[in-house]
């Protein structure tokens, strides 16, 4: 293997998932969610994936390319991510992202085509799931299309001697999986948060190479590979009538809560 690792990190721009429920306005006619008063951010697990890439680059040398597909991708959001230590930005803009949006399979097809066009890589990292789709398919789809082995749900990633060793999250622990490079790994938040970029790096990040493709440039017709369509979109109903239990002191309120629960036969 050559010196260093060539890593591609797939990053998706989404409305800040930590926004309050009122910030996600459901348009049931247009079948889409319209963010209100919240900024676009990089989907949190993709940030975790970028952090993994940065650590691997520190340990092994090499380069990191960020790959994002969408429409109206924010410069500021991508620059901030680039500034943490990525070397190259690859953007795929397509108007399909404007309307109902592509599904997992058309997105994976677009990203796989972009990766082919870019050329070689040792490791592709994606988030375990995007904060908007909550789907967890695109990473495994890319791997399938590029015919490389894939491991999902990584909480730790190490590369040694042409192999990547992954700790894969399980509900009651983890398992250890080894695959040969080139490979794809989907990343879970346990790996740790993305570091903050320095102001100075945000400035220089502007000068790093950037490529913009359309689906046409990649020779893909994303609409033809859509397999899942949204029929209905609604706001979930979760609200309940809350009985506030109070008292003259918090201690009294605590005691009353216990009494109330017994009254309701919940104990």
């Amino acid at each position: 293997m050559q010196e260093g690792l060539e890593i591609i990190v797939c990053v998706k721009q989404v409305p800040d998932p930590e926004g309050p429920p009122s910030a996600f306005v459901v348009d049931s006619e247009a079948l889409r969610v319209v963010p209100k008063g919240i900024p676009p951010v990089i989907s949190p697990f993709d940030e975790n994936a970028l952090e993994v890439a940065l650590r691997l680059k520190e340990a092994h040398g090499g380069s990191i390319a960020l790959l994002s597909a969408g429409s109206g991708i924010s410069q500021a959001v991508m620059l901030k991510a680039m500034a943490t230590g990525a070397d190259e930005l690859l953007l795929v803009e397509d108007e399909l992202f404007d309307c109902e949006g592509p599904d997992s399979s058309s997105t994976a097809a677009l990203l796989a085509a972009a990766i082919r066009k870019k050329g070689g890589f040792d490791l592709i990292l994606t988030g375990r799931q995007a904060a908007d789709t909550n789907s967890g398919q695109v990473g495994l789809g890319i791997a399938q299309m590029l015919d490389v082995p894939a491991v999902s749900l990584a909480q730790k990633v190490e590369v040694f001697d042409g192999e990547v060793t992954v700790e894969r999250v399980l509900p009651d622990g983890h398992e250890i999986v080894r695959v040969t490079l080139p490979a794809l790994v989907t990343i879970s938040h346990e790996v740790g948060d993305l570091r903050y970029p320095r102001m100075a790096d945000i400035k220089t990040a502007k000068e790093r190479p950037r490529t913009k493709w359309s689906a046409g440039d990649l020779g893909v017709e994303p609409a033809s590979s859509v397999r899942a369509r949204i029929l209905e979109l609604s706001q979930p109903v979760r609200e309940r009538q809350c009985c506030i239990v109070d008292g003259d002191t918090p201690e009294e309120a605590g005691e009353r809560l216990a009494l109330k629960l017994r009254e309701a036969k919940l104990l």
């Binding site: 409305p15 998932p17 930590e18 429920p21 996600f24 459901v26 599904d103 399979s105 994976a108 799931q129 909550n134 789907s135 967890g136 495994l140 789809g141 399938q144 299309m145 082995p149 894939a150 999902s152 749900l153 060793t165 399980l170 509900p171 009651d172 622990g173 398992e175 250890i176 999986v177 080894r178 695959v179 040969t180 938040h189 397999r227 899942a228 369509r229 949204i230 029929l231 979109l233 609604s234 706001q235 979930p236 979760r238 309940r240 009538q241 809350c242 009985c243 506030i244 239990v245 109070d246 918090p250 201690e251 009294e252 605590g254 005691e255 809560l257 216990a258 009494l259 109330k260 104990l267």
Partner: protein
Amino acid sequence: MAGYEGVLILGELGDKNQAAGITLELLGLGGKLAQGLDEQLKVVLLGNNVEGAAAELPQYGADKVYLADDPVLGSYNPETYLSLLQSVCEDEKPRIFLAGSTPVGQDLAPRLAFSMGTGLVTDCVGLELGDSPGLLCTKPTYGGNAMAVFVLDTMPQMATIRSRVGEAPSPDPSRGGEVTKLDTGAYTRPSRMEVAGQVKEETVGVKLEEARVVVSGGRGVGGPEGFSQLEEMAQLLGGAVGASRPPCDSGWIPPTSQVGITGKIVAPDLYIAVAISGSSQHLSGMSDSRHIVAINKDPEAYIFKVVDYGVVGDWRSVLPAFTCKLRELITE
């Protein structure tokens, strides 16, 4: 799309090599779909020494069971499992393929969907037959801030389902079904992946997913000491301790205790949320609980909109008095 028929379920094994709870739930759910279609319900089960488990499935409604029994299948290797499963799907051509939102289902279903060039909806909370007869799959998106109904345009129509969406049918020992053993020889070749072992966290006491009472703490609990207080209360109620994500990220409690869209999905009789604000991601994991209680010092906290009982106050004062009274009431 003629030729595609029946509902095929990915069976999984629970403790003691018996069919997992989720598999029985899927048999309940899949059974209704199969009935609606007037087609067969089938299960494919992969593992080591699983003939016993396979033999039990017809009682729960399986018309056919495909069984791959091989020492190599004793632990989950995605590539081996995939090649076997794909060959079953190509031979059987199911109209609908269902798996659980489990570590295996989450990993294997997307691989299978992409290998077969078909569509998949993950993490569904509802399934229904539409007209035509397409499968309508309901799932939360945007971290639970929206609920979407998807329809799939290709066969097989694939979905992974959360636990507790389906209901296990009561077993009917008089019901028969056909168990077919698959030839595993062709698939147990070496793969590009090596699964080198598992590290399990010991759970003491009641399992979070099975507990009838869950006491969860959030960022406002402030540290591991606070969680010992929650533990004390949970023990008193015969329940388990859970958490929102920040306490897990901070190491106050093991990450396996996380409740929410990327943690465990729970639906106990009683869920007590202590110093949790009520983010959509957390609510996605517990809002189906029968009764919910919140203790939070912020009267405006969103959590109060989605609970049955609330106390506004510092948990440090509320909780000890609550626990003390509970003990009194329980020992009465």
